[in-house]
Symmetry: C2
Subunit: 316 residues, 2 copies
């Protein structure tokens, strides 16, 4: 198979949820709204805005329901959220403002699954039909799968691409048994273990086995390789990415409090611009959003482009 | 031509010169020595330690001669320095401690050359035989060329790969006319304009025309693409890089004072480790050097790896 760079990529902005959730400073509702509006003004159309989880576990997300109620209606914009159980799903549906997909989540690490979800990876796979039923009861088809720690895990160590493929196949089988089809796969480098060659190996194996599966990469810049990893994905045709404005986020696992967070939206958009891949995003406005994010969280963010202002005004 | 990743790369550490020169805090001689010793302990063998230029123009480098006198003798280590005229060259030779190569420097931008050297690019090329004679009088063969702004320029805008190739060819002709051979080419992304596709285009053109020329990349992370650019170079077989510990350095041009600096040595070594390219450098010790650099310059440095401590202790 020969792949080439995609003509266009879709970038989902995860800063207001995945990015902000680790921030010590709790943003007010109006601050969160200001950030989300600024991101939409820059052209972002898929925005993760909050999570329906235990507010005590993630204080920054305690006001998600209030925030979602206040979000403006913008044509073409989908607001996204996280849920981890049936109550969370019910709250997401109940909000009436969240684009609810039938998505499953699994972590490609037994050690991480044991630690965070108090079950083995096998038990987590075995529990998938409950999730599928939960969606079914809400009238939602299950068609998406997210694989966390798909490139390595602070608790498990290296994660082999072949094992990830086998895990996806197990979940797909369970989906098929209930009449659902796997159509979308999100591979997450949750703890920043990926390198560009590994991205190509895993994406290559997945595309060989599931040529029509839509793949999204969720990358973290914990060790400085996120942009190179994104490019490796694009070189195999990947055209969906999660990213966080300013590089918001972090690695709350294994005591790396100073680590960089999610791949930085404006740095990723800059890469795309330079190599001729469309994003539909206005880089000048995005740099304004990054400055706003930095002001709101009251700490320097790791993104590079906002500090150097890009090349768009220096070309003749 | 098919290229593959090199088996091993040579990384020249430029932090103590190119990196430190923009720092507001002037380091003492003992601080500079401590940093250089730490870098050698980590395994770096080519280290740019100072410059023989006007001390008023670059206060941080005013003590280069004293520093060089105090450097320890380490087998296999080459100390490197910068000079910009015959006086600087004489001082470098006179120090008796600097590895002096017959290297020419040109900037692939007429606007930059006019601004910084008060001559046109044509005049700068025409002056090359004076440099060659200068080396000849010192008994040194001219065999290396450095091209600054080889990927773009804040004052000129985009720089076309074909124009860079033509510029190299003009200088090579002048070298040949005086009985010298071009054997080493350093392509510098002085102002952080390069992207991975452009790196492949320029390196590809150069390798097509000069298959035996040794190529080094000097990359800046001004806009976050340095690691992806380095990988693009390695994918075309480039096996020499400049890098600065902690990502020291900056972009003193065009008013981007907060910009990231040179490609970060430890992030580059981490990339190499992960993709199976040898560097001969101990990553743990290098992280210690990065912490030292940050302490000495008294500001956070942009490198990512030193904050997350790598993966070397999390593998099972």
């Amino acid at each position: 198979m020969i792949y080439s760079l995609p003509h266009k990529v879709m970038i989902q902005e995860v800063g207001p949820r995945d990015g902000l959730q680790i921030e010590a400073k709790i943003l007010s509702l109006s601050e969160k709204l200001e950030l989300i509006e600024s991101l939409m003004d820059a052209g972002l159309r898929e925005i993760e805005v909050g999570s329906f989880v235990n507010p005590r576990a993630v204080p920054q997300m305690a006001d998600s329901e209030d925030l979602i109620r206040l979000l403006p209606d913008r044509p073409g914009v989908n607001y996204r959220a996280l849920w981890l159980n049936d109550k969370g799903l019910a709250r997401a549906i109940g909000s009436g403002r969240i684009a609810v997909d039938g998505k499953l989540q699994i972590t490609a690490s037994n050690a991480f699954t044991l630690r965070n979800f108090k079950k083995t990876l096998d038990e987590a796979v075995t529990a998938m039909p409950e999730w599928i039923s939960m969606y079914q009861e809400a009238g939602i088809k299950t068609w998406a799968l997210g694989v966390q720690a798909a490139f390595g895990c602070n608790f498990e160590g290296d994660v082999r691409p072949a094992d990830v493929v086998a895990l996806i196949a197990r979940v797909e089988l369970l989906m098929n048994e209930s009449g659902n089809q796997l159509k979308h796969l999100r591979l997450a480098d949750t703890m920043g273990w990926a390198n560009p060659i590994q991205v190509k190996r895993l994406v290559g194996l997945v595309r060989e086995r599931w040529p029509n599966l839509k793949i999204r990469l969720h990358l973290h810049d914990t060790r400085g390789l996120a942009i190179a990893n994104a490019l490796a994905g694009m070189e195999l045709g990947v055209d969906e990415f999660d990213a966080a404005i300013g590089g918001l986020g972090g690695c709350p696992f294994a005591g790396n409090p100073g680590s960089a967070g999610n791949i930085c939206t404006e740095d990723l958009v800059f890469l795309c611009n330079e190599i001729g891949v469309e994003t539909g995003i206005d880089l000048d406005k995005l740099i304004t959003s990054a400055a706003l994010a930095e002001r709101l969280v009251e700490r320097p963010l790791p993104g590079k482009l906002a500090k150097s202002r890009g090349l768009q005004h220096m070309r003749h």
